[in-house]
């Protein structure tokens, strides 16, 4: 059975408007409803991946270039699955975590609006519609970053909102330019026009606008200034969502979709991607090492890990544009996309453990913590698993995707890039050894003698993600699963058939 694609947007959107109607006394009902919504989305996404569905949905039955369409292909499916997993875990975590805030139903509503926006972005087959969904997700995330209304949160929210709005305006300007040059807003038809007529100066300008706009949303260096403030200031489940999926769905996914499927790859564009990726990797990780605020450290690591994703995709783009063996391009893009998925799992787990530590001890300054290994065994185990995954220690999931990226760089004869990738991984390991040392080992400060371990939904949601960190390697190693989940997503980017496929669809 083909699932109607608007459900992915409609379910969270509808629940987002129902949830705020619940008052303070019935807020547990609101919590249950919101959790049911994210669980439904997870089930729908898994069902779509299992049956390997693809197709398009025409909104209002209008035929394609006239009406808006939603497209489900391998890449959208992969993103939907990632978003659903992380939002399910973060929502489960917030059942207990958000009890310390007063306006819980409003939080749930904004959370679901953000999920609706992200699902819309990855499904949209129309560039203006993509912009609208991007704004839905962005505006709710601005509000969520400032949710606590304390000094730092408001400051971070304002900074994030200014840069986010500037990014949105760049993207809208690009959309206008593309419409002016090609006369259509449908991604497939824009791509067809570009394939027939080639790129002119206006379209190059639009592409530059998109790279700046989506680069700002993805927080790639040099557009990263807002991320280390915004992500730590949000409540922990929202940090997990922002670092876990928002920067990927709004930034990297949109960038990759526009470059690979609409404008087409070329060598200079591939090198721009590689440069952005390497800069993010190196600068992000070196800024992270010196941090003493746990969440801020994680935020800088997000920048660094997004660099891996963009680097993998960029190597793929260069290899494709050079006309070398597409198998190497596939390998690089596979590494990039797999790392995207892995990063969303282990980084959201790390942010959830930081929330667990913060709620138990009241601080997230590494120097004020210590010796929590015995007091918080569950959190400690989860944090160790996630740290091992992000540092690329086998057999955790981060290792496999980093290995793929390094292999692809070597195969494509970018030895320098391979060396940088390994080096950055080493620095990541050092910085997470520091985290382990300062939080869980050493002497227990006197004021933390009474610390209690997080229980219930918080422990369960962390457990789900930690389990995924351990077993996700089989997505790559076990062929049937790889063919089901990862290969279709890579195919979408490597085969240049996005537009012809959609135009030919009945």
């Amino acid at each position: 059975m083909m699932i109607p694609l608007p459900l992915f947007v409609a379910v969270p959107l509808a629940v987002a408007f129902i949830v705020p109607l619940f008052g303070q006394k019935t807020k547990s009902a609101a919590t249950v409803l919101a959790n049911v919504a994210t669980a439904c989305l997870l089930i729908l996404a898994i069902y779509i991946m299992r049956t390997g569905q693809s197709g398009i949905y025409r909104v209002g039955q209008w035929s394609i270039p006239i009406g808006i369409n939603l497209v489900l292909d391998g890449l959208s499916g992969l993103m939907l699955l990632t978003i659903s997993i992380v939002s399910f875990a973060a929502m489960l975590f917030s059942i207990r975590y958000m009890e310390q805030y007063t306006a819980k139903p409003k939080f749930l509503s904004l959370f679901l609006l953000m999920v609706a926006g992200m699902n819309g972005v990855v499904l949209s087959g129309d560039i203006f519609n993509l912009f609208v969904f991007l704004e839905i997700a962005s505006i709710s995330s601005y509000a969520l970053v400032g949710f606590g209304c304390e000094h730092e949160e408001l400051e971070a929210s304002f900074k994030y909102m200014v840069l986010g709005s500037v990014a949105s305006m760049f993207i809208l300007f690009g959309v206008g330019l593309v419409y002016g040059m090609t006369g259509t807003l449908n991604l497939a038809y824009i791509s067809k026009t570009i394939q027939l007529a080639g790129l002119n100066n206006g379209l190059y300008f639009a592409l530059a606008m998109f790279i700046v706009g989506f680069g700002l949303k993805a927080a790639l260096v040099p557009f990263h200034a807002w991320l280390p403030d915004a992500h730590p200031s949000a409540p922990a489940p929202i940090s997990a969502m922002l670092s876990g999926v928002l920067i990927k769905a709004l930034g990297v996914y949109a960038l990759v979709r526009v470059i690979f499927n609409v404008f087409g790859v070329s060598i200079p564009i591939g090198w721009i991607l590689i440069t952005l990726g390497v800069l993010s990797m190196v600068i992000g990780v070196f800024l992270a090492v010196g941090q003493w605020d746990f969440k801020r450290l994680l935020a800088y690591h997000s920048i660094s890990q997004m660099g891996y994703v963009v680097l993998g995709v960029g190597i793929g783009a260069v290899v494709l544009a050079q006309g070398k063996d597409p198998a190497w391009a596939s390998l690089a893009i596979l590494g990039g996309l797999f790392h995207l998925m892995n990063h969303s799992v282990f980084k959201s787990l790390l942010f959830l453990t930081s929330g667990s530590i913060e709620i138990a001890t009241g601080t997230r300054q590494l120097k004020q913590l210590g010796g929590l290994a015995e007091k918080m065994p569950v959190t400690r185990t989860m944090c160790t698993i996630a740290s091992a995954a992000i540092a690329g220690i086998p057999p955790f999931n981060g290792f496999w995707s980093k290995l793929l990226i390094v292999l692809a760089a070597v195969k494509a004869q970018f030895y320098g890039l391979a060396a940088v990738t390994v080096l950055v991984s080493l620095v990541t390991l050092i910085s997470f050894l520091k985290v382990q040392r300062y939080i869980f080992l050493g002497d227990l400060p006197d004021n933390l003698k009474e610390v209690k371990e997080s229980k219930g939904s918080m422990a369960w949601s962390m457990g789900v993600l930690a389990g995924l960190c351990v077993v996700m390697g089989i997505l790559l190693l076990w062929e049937p699963l790889r063919e089901q989940i990862l290969t279709p997503a890579v195919q979408v980017l490597v085969d240049n058939v996005y537009s012809s496929k959609i135009i030919a669809m009945p």
Binding site: L154, S165, G176, Y179, L185
Partner: protein, 120 residues
């Protein structure tokens, strides 16, 4: 030429966002950027001496909609886009202003050089 004027307005807004120290002025800079983009979108669809692209029920049958009609009529799609963009910018503007007010309540100033608790 006119398009480059739009871009100039966009750059003025960007300059305002990057250089000004007052939070309200930064918000105004973003609004200027939004206006520049909206103006650009409207101009994309405009035709000198254009007519409204309204088609009645029997116009196709009677031959009133022909090549000259499509040549002369204004493109309606950018106008629909601008309406959507205005609604979105209204939403984000309201949120931005409310965050400015909350920040003023906390810090007692709009000057971003004095609102510096975050570092790094």
């Amino acid at each position: 030429m006119l398009y480059s004027m739009c871009f100039l307005l966009f750059i003025i807004g960007l300059y305002c966002v990057l250089v000004k120290k007052n939070m309200v002025k930064i918000v105004l800079g973003i609004v200027i950027m939004e206006y520049a983009v909206n103006l650009f979108l409207i101009m994309l669809g405009y035709r000198l001496g254009g007519i409204a692209p309204i088609v009645g029920q029997n116009d196709y049958a009677s031959g009133a909609v022909d090549a000259s009609f499509t040549q002369a009529s204004v493109d309606p799609l950018p106008q629909a886009m601008v309406l959507t963009a205005i609604v979105i910018s209204l939403g984000s503007l309201a949120l931005m202003i409310s965050i400015c007010i909350r920040t003023y309540e906390r810090y007692g100033t709009f000057d971003i050089t004095q609102i510096r608790r975050l570092k790094g």
